[in-house]
Symmetry: C4
Subunit: 285 residues, 4 copies
C-alpha cells in the first residue's frame, strides 16, 4: 500500500536524524546517552580487570555488560535499518568500530575461551570520536591532520635516521657491556637504545662500563636536542596552515585564478585589478 511507504520513510528519516545527526534535542539526548553508555562499558571492562573487584562485583559487571551490549546491538541494527546503503556504512571506519564494539560479547557466548576478546570492547571508546566529529572540532582536526600530512616526510625521515643511529650505537653497547648489564641481545639493546633516546629511561637496563656510559650520554644528548627537528618542522607547518587564512578565496575577474593574498590589489598571474568595487588607478593614465 502506498500509504505505508511515506510513513515508513518518515520513520526511517526520523531514526536517521535521531541517530546520525545531532541538531534536534532528541538527537542531542541520544548522543549524551550514548557517551554515558560508552564510558560506563569502558569503565566496567577496566574495573573488571582488577582482581578483587572482579571477584566481588563480577556478576554485576556481567549483567551491565550484557545490558549495554544489547542496547548497542539494537542501535547497530537501527543504524543499518535506516540507511539506504548499509554495506557502505559497515565498511566505513565507524561501521567497523560499531560492529567490533558488540561482536566480542556475543562471541564469548559461542566460544567461552575467547576471553581475551573482552579487551576488544575497549575499542568502543573510539565511538566517542563520532560524537566529537559532530561537535565543532572539525576545524581543529583538519588543521592538525593537514600539518601532520605536510610534515610527514620530514618526520618519517627523522624517525628513520634516529632508528639507524640507535641501531648502530645500541649494537656497540651490546658488544662492550658485560652480561650483568642486561644487553642480552641486539634487539634488547635497541629496546634500551630507544628507551634512552626518547628520554623515557626505565632503568631496567643501564650501562655499567665507562665507555658504555659515554655512548649512552651521546645517545641522550642526541635524543634531547634532536627532538627540535619534528617540533620545528611541525610548528612551521601549523604556522603555514594558520596563515592560509591570509589568502582570499576570491577569484581574479581577469583570469579566474584563485590563491591571491589578502593584500593583493592586482592578480599576480594576469595583472588584472582585483577590487571590483573601485576603478583601476592605471585607468586614469
Amino acid at each position: 500500500m502506498p500509504s505505508m511507504k511515506p510513513a515508513k520513510v518518515g520513520l526511517r528519516t526520523r531514526l536517521f536524524q535521531l541517530i546520525f545527526e545531532s541538531d534536534t534535542p532528541a538527537a542531542k539526548a541520544f548522543d549524551v546517552v550514548l557517551v554515558i553508555l560508552i564510558f560506563l562499558s569502558v569503565g566496567i571492562v577496566m574495573l573488571n580487570s582488577i582482581a578483587e573487584y572482579h571477584q566481588q562485583y563480577g556478576n554485576y559487571f556481567f549483567y551491565i555488560e550484557w545490558f549495554i551490549t544489547v542496547i548497542f546491538t539494537v542501535e547497530l541494527a537501527l543504524r543499518i535499518y535506516c540507511l539506504d546503503k548499509p554495506l557502505l556504512y559497515l565498511k566505513s571506519f565507524y561501521g567497523v568500530i560499531d560492529v567490533l564494539s558488540v561482536l566480542p560479547t556475543w562471541l564469548v557466548l559461542l566460544f567461552p575461551g575467547a576471553h581475551t576478546l573482552i579487551v576488544v570492547r575497549l575499542l568502543r571508546a573510539l565511538r566517542l570520536f563520532r560524537v566529537l566529529d559532530m561537535m565543532t572540532i572539525e576545524g581543529e582536526k583538519r588543521l592538525l591532520l593537514d600539518a601532520l600530512l605536510r610534515s610527514r616526510h620530514q618526520i618519517m625521515l627523522f624517525l628513520f635516521t634516529v632508528l639507524m643511529l640507535v641501531t648502530i650505537f645500541s649494537s656497540i653497547l651490546y658488544l662492550i657491556e658485560p652480561a650483568e648489564a642486561g644487553f642480552s641481545s641486539i634487539p634488547t639493546a635497541i629496546y634500551w637504545g630507544i628507551v634512552t633516546l626518547t628520554t623515557v629511561g626505565y632503568g631496567d637496563i643501564t650501562p655499567i662500563t665507562p665507555l658504555g656510559q659515554f655512548i649512552s650520554v651521546a645517545i641522550m644528548l642526541t635524543g634531547y636536542s634532536i627532538i627540535a627537528l619534528p617540533v620545528g618542522v611541525f610548528s612551521a607547518e601549523v604556522i603555514r596552515a594558520l596563515r592560509a587564512e591570509r589568502y582570499s578565496d576570491e577569484a581574479c575577474p581577469g583570469c579566474g585564478r584563485h590563491h591571491h593574498e589578502r593584500d593583493a590589489r592586482y592578480c599576480k598571474f594576469c595583472g588584472t585589478w582585483l577590487d571590483e568595487e573601485t576603478a583601476d588607478p592605471r585607468a586614469r593614465e
Copy 2:
C-alpha cells in the same frame, strides 16, 4: 557625629589603599611583609612534615604557625571591613584562598583530628599570585592565557587521542605480559602507558616479553614525536598573538593596504595619513 564619619571613611580608604593597592610606599611594605609571612608559613608546614624537625622544633613551629594565623586572620578581617561588598570578595578566587589559608588552623583547634587539613595551609602559596598580579606580569599572563585559550581545542583533542591510544596499547600489554611484569590490571597498565608515553619512565613496571617491549617502543616513539603537536600549535598561537600585538588590522584609506604597525601614522606604501579621525598635519602646510 558627622565629624567621625569622614574620619571613619578616611580610615577605611587608607586601609583599602594599604591592603588592596600597592602604589604607596606603605602598601609596598605591606606586600613585602605579606610575601615574607607566606613563605615563612609555607616553609614551616614543609619542615614540620620532616619527622626529626617535627620532634625537635615542633612546638616552635606551633607557636609561629599560630602567630602567622592570627596575623592573617586580622588581615582578612580588615579586608572585609574596608570593602563595601565583602561578600563579592569572599566569593572571589582570592577571597576563598584567604579564608582557606586561615581556616584549617582554627578548625584543628575545634576538631583535633583534622590533622590532614594542615596541608591546606599550603594553599597560602596561591596568595603570592595576588602580589604577582599587582606587578607588571599582566601582559605576559594575558599573552600566555590567550594563546592557551586559542589552542585549547587542538590540545584537548590531542590529549584525548593520546589517551585513546594509550588505553588500547596498554590493554594489549595487560594481556600479553606475565604476572611478574607488574601489569596487574588495565588501570595499572594505563598508568604504565602514560608513564611511558610522557617519557617519565619510572621503571617500576617494565615489559619483559619481546612483543611487549616492541609495543612499548611504539608508545615511546609516539610520545616522543607527538609532543610536536601541542608545541607546534601553541608556538603558532604565541607567534600570532605577538604579531597581532604589533600590527593594526586597519586598512590604509589611501591604498587599502593592511599590515601597518600600531605606531604608524602614515601608510608606509602610499604615504597617506592613517588616522581618519584627525587631520593630516601636512595639510596645514
Copy 3:
C-alpha cells in the same frame, strides 16, 4: 675489434643505469631486491644475537649470510666495473659503506677471531639511505639540513653551556653525596648529571641527601625548560626556510616593493610585469 667496444660500453651503460639509477623498471626492481636483502641481512644479524635462536638456526643464518655477502660482493664488483672513476666512488660515503658491508664476513674467514666485526654488518642499513636519496625526499632532507646548518652555532653553544653547568653541578653532588648514593667519581657524577638534565632519569644513581636532591631539582628544571632554546632556534630556522622557499627576494620594477610569491608574474601591489627579461603580454594589446 672496434665492433666490440660499443657493445662493451653498452653493457657498462646498461649496468650503470640498472645499478646507479632508478628510472627504468629493471632498476626499480633492482632497488627493491636490494632493500629486501638489506633488511634480511640486518634482521639476521639481530636474530643471531639472541642466544636460543643462534643455537637453533645458527647455521641457517650462516648460509643466508654468505649468500647475501656473495651477492653484495658481486654487486660491488659490478659497481666498480661500470664506473669510469671507481676510486672516487670508493672514497665516497656510499662507497665506504658498500665495502664495509661485505668486508667483515670475508675477514672472519681469514681471522676467525674477528667475531665483533659481525656487528659492522649493521652498517649495511646505511645503504638504505641511497635508495631513499633516489626517492623524492631530496627536498625534505635539504630543508632539514639547511635549517640544521643555519642553527648549528646556537645549538653547539647551547650544548657547550649545558655541559659546563652539568659538570659543575655534578661535581658538587660528587662532593656532598655519600658513597652509597653511587656518585663514585666525577665522570660518573657527570653521567648522572646528563641522565638527569636530558630527563632520561634511569634511577641507577639518585641523590639521597636533601641538598643533593635540591641541586638535582635545579638541574631537572633547567633541562626541562632549556630545551626551549634549540627547539626555538630550529623552529625559527625551519619557518624561515619554508618562507624563503615561497617568496622571491626580487623587488618589483614598478613600485620597488618586495615579498612577491615565486609564482607571481605581476606585482600584486601595482600590477607591473615582474619578469624583466621578457615583455609584458598586455603590451601587445
Copy 4:
C-alpha cells in the same frame, strides 16, 4: 731613563695583544695553548676523582696540576701587570674565574684540609668562554640572550605556576601514600613531584595507591604538554629576533626616526618619501 719607558710600554702593549687579543698569530697560538691546558687540567681533576687512577697515577696528576697552576699563576700575574686598571679586571667575571682557577691549589698548600676546594678547579672550564667570546659566536650568543631576556617574564611565570601545582599535588600524595612508597616528607614529595613533572622519572619514589597513581598521571600529562609554553614563547621570540633583520637601519630624511620596515616607501611617522634616489610619485600631482 726615558728610553726604557717606551720599551716598557712596548712590552706591556705586546703582552696585552698577546694575552687579551687574538688577531696576531702569536695570540692565536697563546689561546690554543690555553685551551689545551684548560682541558688537560679539567681532565686531571676528573681522572683523579676515580679511585684506582688516583692510587696509580696520583702523584703524576699532582705534578701536572702544579705545573699548570704555576703557568696559570704567571699568566694571571702578566694579565694584572699589562693592564692599566687591574682592579676592574679582577672584579670582572673573567677576573674572578682566573683567580678561582689558581687559588684552590695554593690554598691546599696552606690548609691541607681544603681538599674539597680541588673541585673549584673545574671552574677553569669557564675560561673557555673567553676564548669562545673571541670567536664569531658573538651574534649567536646575543640572539639567544636577547630572546631569553624578552621571554624571561613568561618563563618565570611559567616556572612559578608549575612549582605551585607541584607543591600542592605532591603534598596530597604525601598525605595519601603509605610509608613504604617513600613520600617521607613534603620536601621529599616535592622532589618526587618535580622528578615526575619534568619527565625525569628516576623511579626511586613511585606511588602505589590507585589514587596516588591517578594524581601522578595528572602531573605527568601536565608536565608533558605544559612544556609547550616556554618552547612556544621562546620560539616566538627567536623568530621576532631573526625578523629584526627586516627593519632597515636607514633614518627618515624628514623626521630622522629609525625602525622602518624594509618594504616601507614612506616614513610611517611623518609620511616623507624614504627612497632618496628616486622622486616621490606624489610630487607629480
